[in-house]
């Protein structure tokens, strides 16, 4: 087994970012192919272009979308993992190198001056969401997130009495109004409960699930299925060109809520649902999935 080192982890992260940017996960490609089969006319042309694009990107090893996203990482960090304290720096270095070597588009601008840092790093970016777990294994999920879909995110603070009914109405409304802007067919991440910040975080984290993977709890899975149906009935379709496929999937995560609140957050992800996962342990085993 390879000896684990900071350098090693940085290399693997680089490779993972490159894979994420140039190759779509199989579950997403499968869902897009299926969508093409049920669509016709302009909607089908969009899906054909998307599938052709995916092929070119993976064959030529180039980013499938020019918006290579804001670098977002979700880490389940084993408390005994040797490089825990170094990880933040390693990730930052990997992002800087990836920007030059893949290359990525420099996507980090200062909100006040507009100045682009040029290397995809800056205040709180790359964004890292830490979850400390038992053991010595470290799992890093990479989710480069594009701006077009992110701009269609929403947060609702609902009345608890109407929460579950109201959220379906609002989600369908938001996705209908967004039209082609978030690059549909999208994947909708929904976070419910906790608080304003917690539900938004859960909404984005929900995107880490595979397309087609239902929530473990029956009633949550049922709501996911209902939402998929309702959203796909809107007729927005691929790229807003009209059609049956507006979302490829809906993933819900929840937290318990305050009796007075019913927060609901939604984060949309474009069809270019780029994600990659690395698992590392102290023995030097590094796995990319």
């Amino acid at each position: 087994m390879a000896k684990i080192s900071k350098r090693n982890i940085e290399e693997m992260l680089m490779e993972a970012i490159e894979k994420a940017e140039t190759e779509l996960p199989k579950d997403v490609v499968k869902a897009l192919r299926k969508a093409k089969e049920v669509e016709k006319g302009l909607a089908r042309i969009q899906l054909e272009a998307i599938l052709e694009n995916i092929k070119i990107a993976s064959k030529q090893n180039i980013p499938m979308c020019q918006d290579t996203g804001i670098m977002t990482f979700y880490i389940e960090a084993g408390i005994e993992f040797k490089y825990l304290v170094d990880l933040k720096k390693i990730i930052k270095n990997a992002v800087k190198r990836a920007t030059v070597e893949i290359p990525l588009r420099p996507n980090t601008a200062n909100p006040f001056t507009g100045e682009n840092s040029g290397d995809n790093t800056g205040m709180h970016i790359p964004y890292i969401n830490w979850n400390i777990v038992n053991g010595s294994e470290c799992t890093i999920h990479i989710l480069p997130k594009g701006g077009g879909s992110e701009n269609m995110s929403a947060l609702w603070m609902l009345n608890p009495g109407e929460g579950l009914v109201e959220l379906k109405k609002l989600i369908v409304e938001q996705i209908t109004n967004a039209g082609g802007k978030p690059c549909p067919p999208t994947i909708a991440g929904i976070g419910i409960g906790g608080g304003a910040d917690i539900c938004m975080q859960l909404a984005k984290k929900a995107l880490l699930r595979r397309v087609g993977e239902r929530h473990k709890e029956k009633q949550v899975a049922k709501t996911e299925r209902e939402l998929i149906k309702l959203i796909n009935k809107t007729g927005v379709g691929p790229m807003g060109m009209g059609g049956k496929t507006t979302v490829l999937d809906v993933h819900i995560e929840y937290a318990h809520r305050h009796p007075a609140s019913f927060p609901v957050g939604m984060v949309l992800q474009c069809w270019a649902h780029r994600r990659k996962t690395i698992k590392i342990d102290n023995n030097g085993s590094i796995k990319l999935t």
Binding site: A49, N53, I62, M64, C65, P103, G179, K181, C183
Partner: protein, 185 residues
């Protein structure tokens, strides 16, 4: 569905013949401009300063590409369209002042742009969002780049030579039709 092959500079007749729903493949020269670039060009024009190329003969592409420098030459790596509606507040003035005949972007534009397209004789065409690698395949050469130092790679104005760039779907034509308006009624 009609497939149409066009070349820049586009003629008044080329534009007049286009209708919402037509599929276009474009060859010739296009230039990229996003939010900041629109602002910058309008500022320059209003100050009476010279624009370093003739926008009238080119097609406007709402795009911030991924680029790479190879042997001192810029190469476009990935270059799909960006969300056009962000440029709505600039576009009418932009079309009127620069006489651009075609805009390529994604998601469509608003009422003001639709009105101006009719007035100035121009169209808006949709390119599949996110299809950056497919777009880059038809970009044959970077002819020039402006405002790079000042605005950075995504916002810089890139002049590109393209061949059979598409599929572009005409979604707003010069006759006042908009695919996006129709959908709402």
């Amino acid at each position: 569905m009609k497939k149409i092959y066009l070349e820049t500079p586009l003629s008044t007749k080329d534009i007049k013949d286009l209708t919402v729903g037509d599929i276009v493949f474009l060859s010739g020269k296009i230039f990229t401009a996003r939010d900041e670039t629109h602002k910058k060009m309008l500022e320059l024009k209003k100050k009476g300063k010279k624009i370093p190329f003739n926008p009238k003969e080119l097609v406007l592409f709402h795009c911030g590409p991924v680029t790479r420098k190879e042997k001192n030459k810029w190469v476009i790596v990935s270059a799909g369209p960006t969300t056009s509606i962000r440029m709505e507040s600039f576009e009418s003035e932009f079309l009127s002042l620069f006489g651009v005949k075609m805009i390529i972007g994604k998601g469509g534009m608003g009422k003001e742009t639709l009105k101006t397209l009719k007035k100035t004789g121009a169209v808006y065409a949709h390119f599949t969002g996110g299809a950056g690698a497919l777009a880059a395949k038809s970009i044959k050469k970077v002819e020039d780049v402006y405002f790079l130092e000042e605005l950075g790679i995504p916002e810089a104005l890139w002049i590109l030579k393209v061949e059979n760039f598409g599929p572009l779907i005409v979604t707003m034509d010069a006759k006042g039709n908009s695919f996006y308006e129709k959908k709402k009624t």
